[in-house]
Amino acid sequence: MKYGIVILSHSPKIAEGVKDLISQAAPSISITYAGGTDENEIGSSLEKIQTACEQNKGEEILAFYDLGSSKMNLEMYMEMTDLTVHKYDVALVEGAYTAATLAEIEAPLENIETSLKKLLIK
C-alpha cells in the first residue's frame, strides 16, 4: 500500500471517531491514530504519535492533526524519524476524508495534495 493515513487529535474520542468515519470511505487503507495524552486525557503525546506512525502499513504517511501541540509534536517526530511523513495543515475531518477517498482509488500524491489545498485552514 502506497499511502497510509494517521489521525492526531487532542481528544482520544475525536481521533478514533475520525478513523471510524474515514474508514468507511477507504476500507483498504491503513488508518492509525494518536489521541490524547499517555493517560488518555486531553492533550498530545509524542509516544502515541510515534506508535501510530510505526504501526501504519502505508509506505508513506499522510498525517492530519487538530490543534497546535499535535502539530508541534508531529513536527518533532518528523525531525526524528526515517519514515516519510507528509503533514497537512488542513481541516482535520474534511482533509482526512478527502485524502482517504483518493488514496483508496490509488490517486497519485499530486492529485491528493491539489484537493487538500482547498481545505487549508492553518
Binding site: 495524552t37 499517555d38 486525557e41 486531553i42 492533550g43 498530545s44 503525546s45 509524542l46 509516544e47 490543534l67 497546535g68 501541540s69 508541534m72 509534536n73 513536527e75 518533532m76
Partner: protein, 194 residues
C-alpha cells in the same frame, strides 16, 4: 559567562521546585486565556525531570539538558511540551561544544521560535526568552528585568497559541508560558549566583 554542570544542575533543581510550588498559579493564569492546564502539565514535567535525574546522574551539561528535554517531551502533554522540549534538546546539542550561557539560551530561544513558528510580541514564552537571552549577552540580566519582561506580556494581544482564539480579550492577562519561563530565568539567576 559560562555554565558548568554544577550550576546547570542547581538551575534545573530550582526550576523543578518552582514549578511544583506554583502549579495552581500557572493553572489560574491559563484558565483566564487558555485551557487551564499549564500548571498541571508543567508539574507533571517537573516530576518526570526529577525522576529521570534521580535514575541517572548526567555526566555533563549536554546530557543534563537532554534528560530534561526527554522528560518534558514525554510527559508535559500541552503545547509547552514540544516548546520547552525543543529548547532543551537544541541546547543539549549545542552544549557539546558551547559553554557560553547567553549563546545556549539564544539557541534555545531559536528552537522555540522554530517549533512554534512564532516570534516576539505574540504573547508567548518568547517574550521572556528573547529579551532574557539578549540581556544575558550584554551581562545585565536581573530578576527585576525578568519580571519586567513577564509583565510586558500583560497588554499584548495573543496572535499565537490557544490564547489567540480570544483575540482582543487576551489583553490584560499575563501569558502563562511567560510566567513559567520567568520561573526558569529566576532559577537560572539564583543558580549562577553560586
Amino acid at each position: 559567562m559560562t555554565i558548568n554542570l554544577e550550576q546547570a544542575t542547581k538551575w534545573i533543581d530550582l526550576f523543578v521546585d518552582k514549578l511544583e510550588e506554583n502549579r495552581s498559579t500557572l493553572n489560574e493564569l491559563d484558565t483566564a486565556i487558555g485551557d487551564g492546564d499549564h500548571g498541571t502539565n508543567m508539574d507533571r514535567g517537573a516530576k518526570a525531570i526529577k525522576e529521570a535525574l534521580a535514575k541517572k546522574a548526567p555526566a555533563d551539561v549536554s546530557e543534563l539538558f537532554k534528560t530534561v528535554a526527554f522528560a518534558i517531551i514525554q510527559k508535559v502533554g500541552g503545547a509547552s511540551g514540544p516548546l520547552y522540549g525543543t529548547a532543551f534538546l537544541d541546547m543539549s546539542k549545542a552544549a557539546k561544544e558551547e559553554t557560553d550561557l547567553a549563546k545556549l539560551i539564544s539557541i534555545g530561544n531559536d528552537g522555540i521560535k522554530r517549533r512554534g513558528q512564532s516570534d516576539v510580541n505574540m504573547k508567548t514564552m518568547i517574550d521572556v526568552w528573547q529579551p532574557a537571552s539578549e540581556a544575558l549577552a550584554s551581562g545585565d540580566l536581573t530578576a527585576e528585568k525578568v519580571t519586567e519582561f513577564l509583565n510586558n506580556t500583560k497588554d499584548m494581544v495573543a496572535t499565537k497559541g490557544r490564547a489567540s482564539y480570544l483575540e482582543e480579550k487576551s489583553k490584560g492577562h499575563l501569558d502563562p508560558g511567560s510566567q513559567s519561563s520567568a520561573y526558569l530565568f529566576e532559577s537560572l539567576l539564583t543558580a549562577m549566583e553560586g
